[in-house]
């Protein structure tokens, strides 16, 4: 990876910046594959292996949940909540590793994040500006404290640890059975909540005042959303890392909103976009060793651009 960057920079010095050079570098990534058939063979080979299956299952499930929740978060103007929460989760994880809770990190991370989410979504409703500011404060605060803790107390390779938790890692490719079941259990929970409360979530997102006035317990559903969001964020951290989590929550929804007119359409479409780009990211990581999280984000940016263009043309035509 570093070699590649260096050679790109070196190349830029020699003969200015050239796209053909970039293209060469890109092709080099595929140098072990001689034809498209090889690529498919490789995919087939990976699909037979249990670590790849686990990674795909977990990735797809997380992507599904993140996108569906993302719909209400984005529409409620809470796009940044994912970012803030994941930083808090990062801080909690640092504390957990300092305390030596290696296996049961979730025991600490999950409650802390859920608690923060409830707090944020509550105040965020009443006092917009303050909620915003407190979110920013909390998120950078947790990041700073977490990093210091890891630096001072950790014995292992700090920078790689940090890098892993900030940008995600190939950890998704080495998931333990425990994490797999935890993830499946959590996603089933999230999906069930979402399906059972789908119409209420719609009503509360669209017009909380009307919903409350006509007898829906908006507060309760906000609470449910907060808890579920926190769970999904913590799970998704494994996949894309703290810094990139907002992408998973925001991009698929915004892409879907370019094309779809109905709420249901947006939910389904963003779930599809999210699952698609996540699968792409995981395959790309396996085949040409790109970092999972960033590849997912790049794929989502691409989908967003394509959908935006389609949206523009279909509107005009």
């Amino acid at each position: 990876m570093n070699d590649m960057l260096l050679s790109i920079i070196g190349g830029a010095e020699e003969e200015a910046f050239s796209f053909s050079r970039l293209g060469e570098q890109f092709l080099k990534l595929f140098s072990k594959y001689h034809s498209l058939g090889d690529v498919f063979d490789a995919i087939g080979g990976y699909l037979g292996k249990s670590f790849a299956q686990k990674a795909l299952i977990v990735g797809v499930l997380i992507a599904l949940c993140a996108a569906m929740l993302g719909v209400s978060l984005v529409l409620k103007r809470f796009s940044f909540i994912g970012d803030g929460l994941s930083h808090v989760a990062f801080g909690a994880m640092a504390v957990a590793s300092v305390l030596g809770l290696t296996q049961q990190k979730m025991v600490l991370i999950l409650p802390v994040t859920v608690f923060t989410a409830v707090l944020l979504l509550k105040t965020g409703k009443n006092r917009k500006v303050r909620g915003d500011a407190s979110l920013a404060m909390l998120s950078v605060g947790a990041l700073g404290v977490g990093y210091i803790l890891m630096n001072v107390f950790s014995t292992g390779n700090v920078s790689s640890d940090v890098c892993t938790s900030l940008f995600g890692s190939t950890a998704i490719l080495s998931i333990s059975d425990f994490e797999l079941y935890l993830c499946i259990g959590m996603t089933i929970l999230v999906l069930a909540v979402y399906i059972l409360f789908y119409h209420k979530i719609f009503a509360v997102t669209f017009d909380p005042d009307f919903a409350s006035a006509t007898g829906t317990k908006s507060e309760f559903y906000n609470l449910v959303t907060a808890v579920v969001t926190a769970i999904v964020i913590v799970l998704a951290m494994n996949l894309v890392g703290s810094l990139l989590i907002s992408a998973l929550v925001v991009f698929p929804v915004l892409s879907a909103m370019r094309l779809c007119r109905s709420f249901k359409g947006v939910v389904i479409c963003s779930a599809a976009v999210s699952v698609g780009s996540t699968a792409f990211g995981i395959f790309s990581a396996m085949l040409i060793s790109t970092p999972v999280g960033s590849t997912i984000v790049v794929a989502q940016i691409f989908v967003f651009l394509v959908f935006t263009l389609i949206g523009i043309f279909t509107k005009k035509g």
């Binding site: 119409h199 009503a203 669209f206 017009d207 006035a213 007898g215 007119r261 109905s262 709420f263």
Partner: protein, 237 residues
């Protein structure tokens, strides 16, 4: 028959009163217009009636046949959700959510009712359109249909004609008036005194001391009614 009885309400936020001594009664089939200057506390009263911001003191009592506080509501600002992706049908159907309890899906009856309400308000052919692409008047009709899905008893409308052009405004008033004749009790906030006097049966004037509540013809006779009506008329000319 009384549907809503408010006694000695003091309304406000965080212990600070906005209006005091508000008492009024609404009977089945009434058309109550709440008038007053900007900041008089009209929306605050509406929020109190909806249970979103409870009164500082006094009592609000509903006597509607349905079990829950069955009140449909049309908010003052519907522009918060300008880019919300939802079809007209989805929004109208969501009026039923309050009645659903833990049931996850709409019943066939609820779907038919939503269809009927859309037909009643002349927006059936818009049902698959996206809400954000509609005109202001069409949006208001959609929200009105949603409110009617929530209840057939009583509608609470906060400035339903704000931002509409004169033609659409008149159509909207006629529509509300028709619903009233069909048996829906109407409580409408407005600062359009002329329209209030034309359509309403009762007037509640906030912001003045003492607060006026009574039938329309008594209101026209009072001093505040006259001056406010004149001022409003002068404003518009």
């Amino acid at each position: 028959m009384e549907q809503l009885i408010c006694k000695n309400l003091t309304l406000g936020y965080d212990g600070r009163a906005v209006s005091k001594n508000v008492s009024f009664t609404v009977n089945r089939g009434d058309y109550l217009c709440i008038v007053g200057e900007n900041g008089a506390g009209k929306s605050t009263l509406v929020k109190a009636l909806l249970g979103l911001n409870p009164p500082l003191s006094g009592t609000i009592e509903y006597r509607v046949s349905e079990k829950k506080r069955a009140i449909g509501y049309l908010p003052q600002h519907s522009d918060v959700q300008r880019d919300f992706p939802a079809t007209v049908r989805e929004i109208v159907l969501s009026g039923n959510v309050g009645k659903m309890g833990l049931r996850p899906f709409y019943t066939r009856q609820e779907k038919e009712d939503a269809r009927f309400q859309m037909e009643r308000l002349g927006i059936l052919e818009l049902q698959d359109r996206c809400y954000r692409d509609l005109s202001g008047g069409q949006k208001q009709r959609v929200l009105l249909a949603r409110a009617l899905c929530a209840t057939k008893e009583m509608l609470l409308l906060d400035e339903p004609v704000a931002g509409l052009d004169p033609l659409v405004t008149n159509a909207m008033y006629e529509l509300i008036s028709r619903l009233n004749r069909e048996g829906v009790t109407i409580i409408m906030v407005s600062h359009d005194i002329a329209a209030a006097v034309r359509y309403a049966t009762h007037i509640l004037h906030l912001g003045a001391e003492p607060v006026f509540f009574g039938e329309k013809r008594d209101y026209i006779g009072t001093e505040i009614g006259k001056t406010f009506a004149d001022a409003a008329g002068g404003d518009r000319a």
